[in-house]
């Protein structure tokens, strides 16, 4: 007898005691692999994991699901991410994989899952970095093919471009935008002259001052500050890690360069990162893909985004992060798949179930095929909402991320109007 037949037999036995749950999910132990960067430069993605995982263990047990999440550390290395994914599939015999830790973690894991025939649900990287970057020839759209086992939910560059430009248009600027994109996967994708920000910005009549990509952990931004100052740039934008943004911002202030807006992707998402900027963080802007004010709630425990963020802060003593909602949603999608699968221990049965997902999660609706994704990527990709936010520093140094731009997703409540930096 094969392992799978035995499992099916056990599962069938369990079904006779069926307590309202559909199909075979009840009583069957389902192993799900979770590759995540626990250590190394990407560790920020897993900062909320302990809370989310223990919270998930409680709610999945309460739902009568027996799901074991087996985690492995990618150490922020793409090659190790692939290795541990293979280990999870071959040694631990997981039926499904979840991953959410930037393209450096997601892509190798999704690729291994694709070749091993195990469904992989991923998040926390723009869909272009997931779908296009993994194609045999990313430069030629006619050769792009969908994946059989990969399912990704997050936003795309078109979403942030829209949010960024709409924020800038609300202010009276000279339409000169300085680029501060780092020389990494994100920076190159966002500043890409064909698929990134530039085409949309050119259409809207923005002048781009682009000196080139800077090194990650750069110690000196004199050249940028001088060029932006000389050319009277009103808006600066880029994807920078927090230390780089602070280095730039300090030098800009030392040199008396005062742009009207600074909209920084990726680097200014977490309160603790922005707190490190100090009072000079007032009115810095960024993209917001999850916040306590988002009008969504969890399908696992019914908590609203605000309640969930508050319980995180209660339990850990740390401020909420945007990642918190997405890791939770990743587990929501996984649990929902297990519930609906004909045989939750069979990767192919699970794949069928993921492909038909339509679930309202704490980050919004997740459904494949993705209605708002381009047709070629729709089987694998679905987009979640993004808004624009500004950090407001209170007199006591407290930080508040105020949503100031929501025209693409009016259901996300706007909490204020955009203000210039000075």
């Amino acid at each position: 007898m094969k392992r799978r037949t035995i499992l099916k037999g056990i599962a069938a036995g369990a079904m006779t005691s069926g307590l309202g749950l559909p199909a075979l999910a009840k009583g069957v132990k389902v192993k799900i692999g979770y590759v995540r960067p626990e250590t190394g430069p990407l560790a920020g993605f897993t900062g909320a994991d302990d809370f989310v995982l223990s919270n998930f263990a409680n709610s999945s047990t309460a739902m009568g699901l027996d799901i074991e999440i087996i985690t492995r550390d990618s150490q922020s290395s793409p090659s190790r991410a692939g290795d541990v994914a293979a280990e999870l599939i071959i040694d631990e015999e997981v039926s499904m994989m979840i991953v959410g830790g930037a393209p450096e973690t997601n892509n190798p894991v999704a690729t291994i899952c694709e070749s091993e025939g195990v469904p992989c649900i991923s998040t926390l990287s723009p869909w272009q970095a997931y779908f296009i970057a993994r194609q045999a020839n990313p430069a030629d759209p006619s050769t792009w093919k969908p994946f059989d086992y990969g399912f990704h939910f997050f936003w795309g560059l078109e979403d942030v471009v829209g949010v960024f430009t709409k924020m800038w248009q609300k202010l009276d600027t000279n339409k000169k935008v300085g680029f501060l994109f780092a020389n990494d996967a994100d920076g190159l994708a966002w500043a890409d002259p064909n698929n990134g920000l530039p085409p949309v910005m050119n259409q809207l009549g923005y002048d781009i001052v682009d000196l080139g990509r800077h090194k990650v952990l750069n110690d000196d931004f004199t050249n940028f500050v001088n060029a932006f100052k000389q050319q009277d740039v009103d808006v600066v934008t880029g994807t920078m890690i927090p230390p780089d943004f602070i280095t730039f911002w300090n030098q800009a202030q030392q040199q008396g360069y005062k742009p009207k807006m600074a909209t920084v992707g990726k680097g200014l998402l977490y309160p603790q990162d922005v707190a490190a900027v100090g009072p000079a963080a007032h009115n810095l802007s960024c993209e917001v893909w999850w916040a306590p004010s988002f009008p969504f709630s969890s399908s696992l425990n019914g908590m609203s985004a605000a309640d969930y963020a508050a319980s995180f802060t209660d339990a850990t003593g740390r401020p909420w992060t945007q990642v918190l909602g997405f890791v939770h949603a990743l587990l929501e999608v996984a649990a929902d798949t297990v519930k609906r699968a004909g045989d939750p221990t069979d990767p192919d049965s699970l794949t069928e179930a993921v492909a038909a997902t339509n679930l309202d999660t704490i980050v919004g609706n997740v459904a494949w095929p993705g209605a708002s994704a381009p047709p070629f990527a729709a089987p694998n990709v679905t987009r979640t909402p993004v808004a624009g936010g500004q950090w407001r520093v209170g007199d006591d140094g407290s930080l508040d991320l105020v949503i100031v731009e929501n025209s693409d997703h009016p259901m996300i409540p706007k909490a204020g109007d955009i203000e210039p930096l000075n």
């Binding site: 250590t39 190394g40 430069p41 560790a43 920020g44 897993t46 900062g47 922020s76 020389n183 000196l211 080139g212 990509r213 800077h214 090194k215 952990l217 750069n218 110690d219 000196d220 004199t222 050249n223 940028f224 001088n226 000389q230 927090p242 230390p243 780089d244 602070i246 280095t247 911002w249 300090n250 030098q251 202030q253 030392q254 040199q255 008396g256 977490y270 603790q272 990162d273 707190a275 490190a276 900027v277 100090g278 009072p279 000079a280 740390r318």
Partner: protein, 287 residues
């Protein structure tokens, strides 16, 4: 005028690199110990300062001063109980031990302090500058450069005006003979690493104030620190400072041509100097 500004910013950046490099210069010069964990030890120092400032409510500068003796003891113990066992004729064991130490410190910091960004706030001094003619000089970068000069002066005093310094120089020149003269080189080494970590503590203060830190950024500037030591020549602290400044200026000038050329320009200057003067600009030790 932009050219002068670029060079000036490069000189001040060089001060930062020199602070990172001076501790290395010391351990490398005295013991021929290539300490791959130096960047992480500086970062550890930053977290010690942050913890002191955060939990004891000390002003940042006082916290840094309190951290310096802690760093000395740490360095002394590190050398006495770990690195001395690895230091023999073979150059490989210390490399492996310090590499392992680097990983240990990184993950230890991650476990204790999480991956969150942290920063030591100086209450606005970070953004301040003063005008000299048409140029703006940042207060914090200038402080960094002055700190580097001060550290060089103090190290030179210890090295050339004290008995301890004589022992350092003697160890550097010929450790075997020093042992024959009845001096325990392991003790000399322990004090040297202690002092190196005090210098690392100074660097740690500026690392934690100039931008935010997280447990993974320690090794990032190690290569520049090594280059500064090599450019300056082994055993010369002024050389290390000049090496850092040359590297800083090369980077800012390179960056003004193209940001992608910034780091490369520094490396090219390093290779050029290595090619023209294989022993660096101001070598003191001969080996």
């Amino acid at each position: 005028m932009i050219l002068i500004d670029t060079i000036l910013q490069g000189v001040m950046l060089g001060g930062l690199y020199a602070l990172f490099a001076l501790g290395l210069s010391l351990t490398f010069g005295v013991m021929r110990l290539v300490n791959l964990a130096h960047g992480d030890l500086i970062l550890l120092g930053s977290y010690i300062i942050l913890t002191l400032a955060g939990s004891l409510y000390l002003p940042p500068l006082i916290a840094a001063l309190v951290a310096l003796p802690i760093m000395f003891v740490l360095g002394w113990a590190l050398q006495r109980f770990l690195l001395n066992h690895a230091l023999h004729d073979d150059i490989l064991p210390p490399l492996i031990v310090t590499f392992g130490l680097s990983i240990l410190i990184q993950n230890g910091l991650l476990a204790i302090f999480t991956a969150d960004s942290r920063r030591l706030s100086l209450g606005g001094i970070e953004a301040q500058s003063f005008a000299v003619g048409p140029l703006n000089i940042g207060v914090l970068p200038l402080m960094t450069l002055l700190a580097a000069v001060l550290v060089v002066l103090l190290l030179n005093f210890v090295f050339f005006k004290t008995a301890l310094g004589r022992a350092f120089r003697a160890t550097s020149d010929d450790a075997t003979t020093l042992t024959l003269m009845g001096r325990d080189t392991r003790r000399v080494f322990a004090i040297a690493t202690g002092i190196a970590l005090v210098v690392a503590g100074v660097a740690a203060f500026f690392l934690a104030t100039r931008a935010s830190i997280n447990p993974s950024i320690g090794p990032a500037r190690l290569i520049f620190a090594f280059e500064a030591v090599i450019i300056g020549g082994l055993g010369s602290f002024w050389g290390t400072l000049i090496g850092g400044i040359i590297l800083g200026v090369a980077q800012t000038l390179g960056g003004s041509i193209d940001p992608e050329f910034q780091v490369l320009a520094g490396h090219l200057v390093f290779i050029a100097i290595l090619f023209l003067r294989p022993r660096g600009l101001f070598p003191r030790a001969f080996d």
